[in-house]
């Protein structure tokens, strides 16, 4: 293993001769080992779904949450190390609060995303720190409508109609490409997200998982929340049925 980075992977402040930052790539590895995250932006809202892998049967249902609220109008989904992500969430909350104090209005999603991306980025500049081992999807509604941004350990910040992270990233992307983002309603998107997560779940490698769904739309009055039980059950039933039909 010691020959992998040949000494260039010990600090993030040193490039390898072929121009790589190994520490950042390792951070991305941490994300790739995590449960799949799928996010879809529609005309009037955003849905985030996560395949939360359950490490122990003794865990309470709903523990180790991966969807969090940042402000009333913003929510994030995280993939990767949960502890690292909490750092970003805390930072995002204080940025959102500070923006409100200074400008007297809710922080635009783009501004928040860029600030969190900068925070990620400064952790790729010094030998004394390591990059965060997590990627986050920021969803929200502001004066420019619904927004979805993905932020990576490198500090990149990109807006999407639909995107995915984690183990089933590639398979989920193939499914997402079939979605018509300008036609789909947010409620339909919830079902679609649930279906994709069930379809990319690898039952051989990971036995148990818990689906986590968060949404924000006109139906929620522009407030980010976890998907309520009735809609959640409907989406989960749809996803399970679709999976059964595919296996037949």
């Amino acid at each position: 293993m010691s020959s992998v980075g040949s000494g260039y992977d010990l600090y993030v402040s040193t490039y390898s001769p072929d121009g790589k930052l190994f520490q950042v790539e390792y951070a991305n590895k941490a994300v790739e080992n995590s449960g799949t995250l799928v996010a879809i932006k529609t005309k009037d809202g955003v849905v985030i779904g996560i395949e939360k892998l359950v490490p122990s049967k003794m865990l309470c249902h709903g523990s180790n949450r991966r969807i969090h609220h940042i402000d009333t109008h913003i929510g994030v989904g995280v993939s990767g190390f949960l502890a690292d992500a909490r750092q970003l969430i805390t930072r995002a909350r204080s940025e959102a609060k500070q923006y409100r104090q200074v400008y007297g209005q809710p922080i635009p999603i783009k501004v928040l995303s860029q600030r969190i991306a900068s925070y990620n980025h400064v952790h790729t500049l010094y030998g004394s720190v390591r990059p965060f081992g997590c990627s986050i999807a920021i969803s929200g509604i502001d004066q420019y409508g619904p927004q979805l941004y993905m932020i990576e350990p490198s500090g990149s910040c990109i807006g999407y109609f639909g995107s995915s992270l984690g183990k089933g990233k590639q398979a989920a992307k193939n499914e997402l490409e079939k979605v018509k983002f300008s036609e789909i309603t947010t409620r339909e998107a919830i079902k679609e997200v649930a279906r994709i997560i069930y379809s990319v779940h690898d039952e051989v490698k990971d036995k148990d998982f818990e689906l986590e769904l968060g949404w924000i739309s006109n139906e929620t009055n522009g407030v980010h929340q976890l998907v309520p039980k009735d809609i959640f059950d409907e989406a989960e039933a749809y996803a399970k049925q679709a999976l059964e039909e595919a296996n037949m």
Binding site: H68, H69, I70, D71, Q101, V223
Partner: protein, 263 residues
């Protein structure tokens, strides 16, 4: 010759560059009023008048007018003086309006933090009321009070809440709460109405609040007849749109115009 009775410098009689004169002059410069001290709110500037509220059988009703006064000048005539906090609480404020705006900002941060926590529990009206009381009491201890009397109403888990906090941090819960002129004029009316009809319904309570605000409009020179009524009950919380009170029409201006044209 002695110059001890002269306490101001006179040319040729004071050693300007000597040690002694410097010691004498410096303290005088330090304590000139222009250096200023700590400044606090000593009186309110833009103010709202009374807020009144009463419990009915299944909730709480609160009423206020929409006037902000600048001293005795009726400065802004269509301003909402009641604000929602979370899904269960409404606070109405009399007194300095900018201080209420500041309170609103602080409490909204509290509500947002509670939303982010998402632990299944929501801030109750009583918790918000208590927090508000701490803010106001803390400020008064700094000798810089937020110049408001706040009335907190709410409804959560089948329980209605009605409480009050004033600028020195005094806080209590009651079935009838009034402040400002309302404590002199509306309170006896509200008490009598409640004694006569202890289980009044929403419509009766709303009418009662409206009637009290009408009396206040007649008697309180800092009030207006444009009012709003807030309700916290089983249907959630709601603040009505502006309501123009029906009042006696004196036609005083009309009479003057008629008499003038006859002359």
């Amino acid at each position: 010759m002695s110059f001890e009775h002269i306490n101001f410098p006179v040319f040729g009689q004071v050693d300007y560059f000597g040690k002694q004169s410097q010691q004498q002059l410096q303290p005088q410069q330090q304590y000139t009023p222009s250096h200023g001290g700590k400044k606090n709110t000593l009186d309110p500037i833009v103010t709202g008048t009374s807020i009144i509220a009463i419990k009915y059988d299944k909730g709480v009703v609160m009423g206020s007018d929409m006037l902000l006064s600048y001293g005795s000048l009726a400065r802004f005539n269509s301003i909402q003086r009641m604000t929602k906090f979370g899904g269960n609480t409404i606070i109405g404020a009399s007194g300095e309006y900018s201080d209420f705006q500041s309170i609103t900002t602080t409490l909204n941060e509290l509500v947002t933090d509670d939303h982010c926590m998402d632990d299944g529990s929501r801030l109750s009206p009583e918790e918000i009321w208590n927090y508000l009381a701490r803010i106001l009491y803390n400020q008064r201890n700094k000798g810089n009070p937020l110049w408001n009397t706040c009335v907190v109403i709410g409804y959560q888990g089948g329980k209605s809440f009605l409480g009050k906090v004033d600028l020195v941090g005094t806080c209590f819960k009651e079935d009838i709460v009034t402040c400002g002129y309302g404590s002199h004029i509306a309170l006896p009316l509200l008490r009598k109405a409640r004694d006569d009809n202890p289980n009044m319904n929403l419509e009766q309570a709303k009418k009662l609040i409206e009637d009290c605000l009408r009396v206040l409009f007649y008697r309180d020179a800092r009030s207006s007849k444009k009012i709003q009524i807030a309700v916290a009950g089983e249907q959630g919380i709601d603040i009505s749109g502006p309501i123009e009170l029906e009042t006696y029409n004196w036609n005083s201006g009309e009479a003057a115009v008629k008499n003038f044209s006859q002359v």
